[in-house]
Amino acid sequence: MATLAPVSASAPPQEKRRGGGRAPSADPAVMRAGLGTALLFVGPYLVLFCTFVLAPIVYGLWISLHTWDFLLPGKPFVGLQNYVDLFTGGSTTSEPFWNSMRATAIFTVLSVPLLMALPLALAVALNKKFRGRNAMRAVFFAPFVLGVAVIGLLWRYLLDPNVGVVNYYLDQLGIDRIPFTTATPWVWLALVVPTIWWTAGYNMVIFLAGLQDISPELYEAAELDGASAWQRFRHVTLPGLRPVTVFVLTITILASANVFGQPYLITQGQPGGETRSAIMEIGEEGLRRFNMGSASAMSTVLTVALLLVSLITLSFLRERTPKEAKR
């Protein structure tokens, strides 16, 4: 299931914020439809939506209030005990969970800046017309269409301590072999580099779309004023990309915080569970050991953390909106 992001850079929602549209009496005839007709149109989706989105949101919270072993018939209600355990040092769940949160935070902090800077640079460089531009755009984007399992297997090979390609070349250069997939701090490299290779093109595409919305006149004016390339980037491109940047930042933080396949396949949580991500911990706790109560409590804590982080990044957008509105 994908993380889906609702903010569109180039097409702001058309309806008015308040009131959500026209009053029913003002509807043109073409919008009027019987309830039956409307239900036939929305009904099938609503059934799916209620079963697999709406109900699980509530059900997950409910599960988190129980000692819910999927394989046992009795699922005693324990109130907030699962949450208390998570926040009490020394309980069986708190240490692995907070270790995994720490790993997730480290990965996010290491990967997000690079996943912003490189795609932005690529987008600016590719925004100019030259031969081979579309082919290059396709090349930078292509790794994204490969699934994480392919990425994992491939980089596991490239970074293999014994027969891997990277270590072969290090050897040729007279550098000692590096245990990329089993020892700190190298494991972080083994997670971050493949992730950048995999998803940089995705962010690049969104930045490229954002660049199309910056009026060419602004560049012309800046050029007439004698602005250098860097000054044009700093004072025209960056401010013009602000909404897009906040959007990309938000989805990138969320994607990095949801990291799963890379540590599952490349480092396998090594060394000693140090690179085990939060999603990995929740998956193993809930769906391998079947302790669904504590796993659901972990999900809730992670969800709240993710929502807080999104709110904070999105607030960057709001701060500047009044100034931006004049454009």
Binding site: L48, V53, A149, S299
Partner: protein, 293 residues
Amino acid sequence: MSTTTTTQRPSTTVTAPEPRTRSRVPWRAIFLGLLALLFLTPLLWMVSTSLKSTAEVSQADLSFIPKDLSTDGYSKILGAPQTPVGQWFLNSMIAATGQALLVLVVATMAAYALARLSFPGKRIITALVLATLFVPPISLLIPNYVIVANLGWLDSLSAVIIPGAAGAFGVFFLRQFFMSLPVELEEAALLDGANRFKIFLTIIVPLSRPALATLALLTFLTNWNDFLWPLYVLFSPERLTIQPGLSTLQSAYTTDYATILAGGVIASIPVLILFLISQRFVIEGIARGGLKG
């Protein structure tokens, strides 16, 4: 390349204007070309390694071009009953196509109603659906597992086709598109006595082909590449889809990378081909909607 004044540029140009170039050496293209090559390198190594013999992969002396071209990896992986890559491939095709079709039908109809029809409860439904775009998918993992188990769908393709089609993205994406279509065509058809379904099928759907194609492609790609969910809800070797299937290669073949990467190549070819022929739709869809697997 323009080297003189701005007047030479057509004023209607959509892309940002080209800055003046000082030298004739296309540094930008050269630098980007090298970077693009660097991006391609891992993929090229995957293909080259998959075409080596098992012995060659573990040799101390590595070469990019296989010294002894071998399809052992491919025959090994396609013939192994405990890692049925062909079956995984087929399962993924069925699941990804099935989910794309399901999303097309269900989300298109819902998006049309939410964009165009007025009926009681519409505002609440719209707000609820759009609000769930912000809900991190992890909060659905455990409860959806229980729900799918209760439906008897564990270890079956239904589990990887149906729940994923409930996401709000398709509805959000198409609703946005439908709202941008002019109402006049529908008005005319209504006056001609056409009913709602006829209007939907003969006016809206044909007008929306590019948007529908984009959504179908994005759904297909997301489903094909999904890993976390199928890894847990499917378990019999012959029921796996390609991504969780591939992840079992590591334990089955440990460091037999020729065989493992042959599996990687097989899994990558359809998505790469699909991407190359439909680049425009995929990239446009992401630029407009934003969707991350």
